[in-house]
Symmetry: C2
Subunit: 432 residues, 2 copies
């Protein structure tokens, strides 16, 4: 029995966050002579790369969310607490936690790993949030799913042609991987899945507009792949607008400079901001708000404290590593090795080195772009590779069969397995 | 294009409710020379008999909820509207509808079928609802799932032995099929699924108490089967209390007469009350509130109006037919035949006759009770029959593969595929 407030007999590692980074730390300490406490405000690890498939009704939330407790069950040196971290008392070496509305007994730590990730970033326009939900957690995905499906339902009922068209206009703000993948998936929902189900709506007339501030979508990929992705999006009927900025979002549309696009469904895929880890630790952050870390992901003048993943700024070749799953995961494994070396009295491993396994984005069925080192691929082969790699990764989380079943079913039938509106009817400000 | 407010060229049948009854009406009118409008406040048909499996994390909501629109897509004479019905104007033959917060243009009807089902019945104790959610819709199931899983999570954190035990005490009020099936499923969740995942909670120590006011559980079954079910529940560790009534429920427990059972998770499975169809029509209702219908399910003095399923009181052999899926479904098919005969000028079919295909209830894995005519079975064979029959029925709703996959996975691994807490953290009154 682990009592998180009692003095530990073995060094205690408190890991905050059960995403790719935090989970990697805990799992890599499996046989280390330490007690691991993992804290997360959710009960599940989320396979975020497939979140857009929940938002577009393909997968069920349970397909990409696995209880952290289940993943760490066989690991007897680890315990899991579902709690919200509200701060760190660096002097006393303890983490402040809340359970729902109660303040809990703080967790004492010998080592602390903050893997608290990022949330959507409205870049100072917090008023956009009400009208343009972002996509980071499962509940975001079901909110967006509700809004997309509800827009079609209401369009079926509304006779006024202008409102009807506004309801069928979907705007995605941000042309990174999430925006591109969402746009492709909504395009196919409209073109195939909803086809012939409506009597007053022709789903094929729905507009999908993807807005990107920089000159091209998928800015982190090679320009050739950006072009390929944009071409494929346009082939699917998505209107891609690059080099323009959204200046206003309200209940009935968005403004791009002086131009107004009437829309009742705006989705924010434009950016992320890190968790407040730098404030908890009272340490310097980079411009984006990420904690500046050493080459072993530790924090200067904060003994025993490490920060990894989206909430850390790790400089490599003069620029910060990107906020992707692989960085968090590899940093997690590295930090576990560092802690283990200290506890067992071995020599510390060398500085963390990120091994870039490449990146991919899917654009509807049968088309993806991928890039790994000098290899660049787009089209069907990349799509097959995408599916295979994601199935293999998901296998680690015990969801493989269900996801594969759903994918095959959706692929063959054009139907989506989780097309539910579950939000309570009266609360969506967009339709009042 | 169907305009629901315009005068129809062909007779129009408005069906309210997309459950087993309403869907059966719409589908049975497939080739009839009528226009069918189906209205439901949800976008999905719900396979209610498996709702308890969503509440206990086995199935995902999408596994048992299929878009009504998808089910009726091939039927060109049918259109579907997602709207809330707020009344019926019998004189003008129209149905009053609300879309979210807007009042819609009423639907004119030539024939109206109300298949609006039932909701939980707190028998005058509406104050119980906050503390003891019932199980009728998908959102009820995810609310209950949240509460059950959260109780275990909080128990892991709470050191005080009394509170710890209260959090691990689950009370089910009502020993009908839903209560029995829930109790069995929670018992196995505790015994197998959560085993070894907690460090401070021993899930096997959780108490599950099933309370039934009448002398036996499964009162609609033969007493032998009630006994068999109770014995199996007790074998699974469920405490069955029959012949006692709950007199109070609050945030920390329930009262049975003078006895207090401390519990943070109370679930209401005790009864249902019909929709307000009798008020909409301003016609007499039975004591339970159901509309008294004729032998063809029509309503006296309300030309063209039929009421079916849980919201109708259809007398057969001196007592009302039970509120089960088969009754609703068969009545739906019958009413479609009656309407068709009138529209096409055929002779009306004879009075509705319910064919009782039997009933079943599952009690954990490998055990069910079933009854059909004089055949009564309990145990493994009944359980196999239960699974087979449910898979065959589900097939009609396109969810077969996914459900079977989940069932086989849960059966073999003891893991549950949808063990997610998705409710927002701060809103559960039970833990404040």
């Amino acid at each position: 029995m682990t009592d998180p407030s009692a003095p530990a007999k073995r060094p205690r590692v408190v890991v905050v966050g059960g995403g790719f980074g935090g989970l990697a730390v805990a799992q890599a300490l499996k046989n280390a002579p330490v007690d691991v406490i993992l804290v997360d405000r959710a009960n599940h690890h989320l396979f975020q790369p497939l979140l857009y498939q929940v938002a577009t009704s393909i997968l069920a939330p349970g397909d990409i969310g696995t209880p952290i407790r289940q993943l760490l069950a066989p690991q007897t040196n680890a315990s899991v607490f579902m709690a919200e971290v509200s701060g760190v008392d660096v002097a006393r070496k303890q983490v402040l936690v809340d359970y729902l509305n109660r303040r809990g007994v703080p967790f004492k730590y010998d080592y602390l790993v903050l893997a608290t990730g990022a949330t959507h970033n409205y870049f100072g326009h917090e008023e956009f949030a009400e009208f343009a939900p972002g996509l980071k957690q499962l509940t975001d995905a079901t909110t967006i799913r509700d809004r997309i499906l509800r827009a079609f339902e209401i369009a079926e009922e509304v006779a006024d042609p202008q409102t009807h068209q506004d309801l069928l206009t979907f705007v995605l703000v941000g042309g990174g991987a999430t925006g591109v993948e969402m746009a492709g998936s909504i395009a196919e929902l409209r073109r195939f899945t909803l086809k012939s189900e409506f009597r007053r709506v022709n789903p094929a007339e729905a507009r999908i507009i993807l807005i990107e501030g920089s000159p091209r979508v998928l800015g982190s990929f090679h320009p050739d792949l950006s072009r390929a992705a944009q071409k494929q999006l346009e082939h699917l009927g998505v209107e891609v607008r690059t080099g323009v900025h959204v200046t206003k979002i309200d209940a009935t549309g968005v403004m791009i400079g002086d131009e107004r696009i009437a829309s009742r469904t705006v989705i924010w895929t434009a950016g992320v901001k890190p968790s407040p880890a730098s404030k908890w630790l009272n340490v310097p952050a980079d411009k984006a708000g990420r904690v500046l870390v050493q080459t072993d992901c530790s924090v200067t003048d904060r003994p025993g404290v490490f920060v990894i993943g989206d909430t850390a700024c790790f400089m490599a070749d003069g620029k910060p590593l990107p906020g992707v799953a692989q960085v968090a995961l590899q940093q997690g494994q590295h930090v576990a090795a560092v802690i283990r070396a200290q506890v067992e009295g071995h020599r510390a491993p060398g500085p963390f080195k990120y091994f870039d396994k490449g990146s991919m984005a899917i654009v509807g069925r049968n088309f993806a772009v991928m890039e790994a080192g000098k290899i660049r691929l787009s089209g069907y082969i990349a799509w097959m590779a995408w599916a295979l790699i994601h199935v293999l990764y998901l296998a680690a989380f015990g969801n493989r069969v269900s996801v594969v079943t759903q994918w095959i079913w959706t692929y063959l039938s054009h139907k989506r397995g989780s097309r539910l509106i579950l939000g309570s009817g009266g609360k969506n400000p967009l339709y009042e």
